[in-house]
Amino acid sequence: MTTGKTISASGTGISPVLEYAINIQHLYKSFGDNHVLVDFNLEVKKGESLVVLGKSGSGKSVLIKCIIGLLRPDNGSIEMFGENITEINAEELDKIRAKVGFLFQSNALYDSMTVRDNLEFPLRRHWIKLSQEEVNKMVLEALEDVGLAHTVDMMPVELSGGMRKRIALARTLILKPEIILYDEPTTGLDPITGKEIIELMNEIQEKYNTTSLIISHDMNCVRMTSDRVVILLEGKCYADGSWEALQLNIDPKVKQFFQ
């Protein structure tokens, strides 16, 4: 087994809890007889860009939805900002969610709203007291970050796949999240558009110094965005290390991802 668990609470005397942006311990999640996550452990350090790699159907989306509280795990704990989100109530969870961005696999733009309304939605919902000017400014800023300021009055159906992904990213960014969760950010895009999205993700990472948890099976994306890679296999964290280290790994189950 190659579970090179390298991350340990470094002996600096700082509380290890606060060092981690996300700390998942002994997570279990099943749907009937389908045991998707079985004793899954993962720690994501602040400012780190971590990729979870796994085959289709291995439970990547289930994992990320547990983290944001869309799915309730059967057992285990998920800590973000020092709070165990499996134990807190809906209001406290909303407060945490305001600091976490989530980019959906399918973008999840609201079809019935313009781009502007799509971006305003999380703002209005999380921080109720904002003047219209402040809102307009933030919308424009988020759109400029993704290079699509001219689409502000368009409807999502009028946009191409790559543009939708960027708008979805802008909607995620508008709350200036400290953690961003990306569910397969490049799936369904052509390689060139995919690369643009990857570059955008890296720019955001640098500009706002966010912690990123990226789910992917696109090796290009993994290579270009990861500080560290974790392989999700059979519901567990099977291997863990940098892209370069894992690439040299001789375990056949790890190797199959790098062919």
């Binding site: 969610r97 939605f121 999380h126």
Partner: protein, 256 residues
């Protein structure tokens, strides 16, 4: 006891619908209230169905009058035509026809809208944006449907009676004033009230079933189509079941 698969799946469906309705009552009357979305839905649901309900009501009133006239002539009670038509429209035909049109138009649109929001993860996106999607999407639509359908039925009844007035005047002439006084002189409280009350139940049924089907839509565009379709079918059947129950209840209460 082993039940056939169809019956079992019907029972599980009925069970989940009951639970969904329970959730509506436990969340619907507690803050936060989504007032602006509610008013928007009232406008969309009410205004959008008005032309269709108006048209079908007018035709219904006109045709019913023309169909009844020969029979009334045969019994020599042609002069009672406005009264008979008025009673049938107000008591039964107006509410049921309008509710069925409403189920077709609003039930399917709610089912399809929520269904596609579900499968494209828009409902999840609302949830992570600090919104309770059940309150924002379901509670507002169910309240809007419940409150708007009775209003639509009242308007539909009026248009239907106007259609009947036109029908009466195709052969023979009755003054506008005479027609209306004939209609209203023969209406009593027990003709109007039960019909008005049951229309709230019709509206509620269409709203909750449309939302239930959409909210529990299965993945894929086919799933969305299926939820829109079954929302209409189930809501229409529900309208008849409520109608049946309503007539029993009014009977028991001695209101008939």
């Amino acid at each position: 006891m082993i039940l056939p698969a169809e019956i079992r799946s019907f029972l599980t469906d009925a069970g989940s619908l009951a639970r969904f309705t329970g959730r509506f009552f436990s969340q619907g009357f507690r803050p936060r209230y989504e007032m602006s979305e509610f008013t928007r839905q009232c406008y969309l649901i009410g205004y959008n169905s008005l032309p269709l309900i108006g048209l079908t009501s007018f035709i219904m009133g006109l045709v019913l009058t023309m169909q009844l006239r020969p029979a009334m002539l045969r019994y020599g009670v042609e002069s009672e035509l406005p009264a008979i038509v008025g009673i049938s429209i107000i008591r039964e035909i107006g509410p049921v026809i309008s509710a069925l049109i409403f189920a077709g138009k609003i039930g399917s649109s709610i089912g399809a809208e929520l269904g596609s929001m579900k499968v494209t993860e828009q409902i999840d996106a609302m949830e992570v944006s600090g919104t309770n999607p059940f309150k924002y999407l379901v509670v507002t639509r169910v309240f809007a449907a419940t409150l708007m359908l009775p209003v639509l039925i009242l308007l539909g009844d009026a248009i239907s009676l106007y259609g009947s007035y036109v029908g009466v005047n195709i052969r023979g002439t009755t003054s506008f004033y005479l027609f209306w006084s004939q209609v209203f002189d023969n209406l009593v409280f027990s003709d109007v009230m039960p019909a008005f009350i049951k229309s709230y139940f019709f509206g509620f049924a269409v709203g909750i079933i449309g939302c239930f089907k959409g909210y529990n839509s299965s993945k894929g565009t086919e799933g969305v189509g299926r939820s829109a379709n079954s929302a209409v079918v189930v809501a229409s059947i529900m309208v008849f079941i409520i109608d049946l129950l309503a007539v029993q209840v009014t009977d028991l209460l001695g209101l008939n």
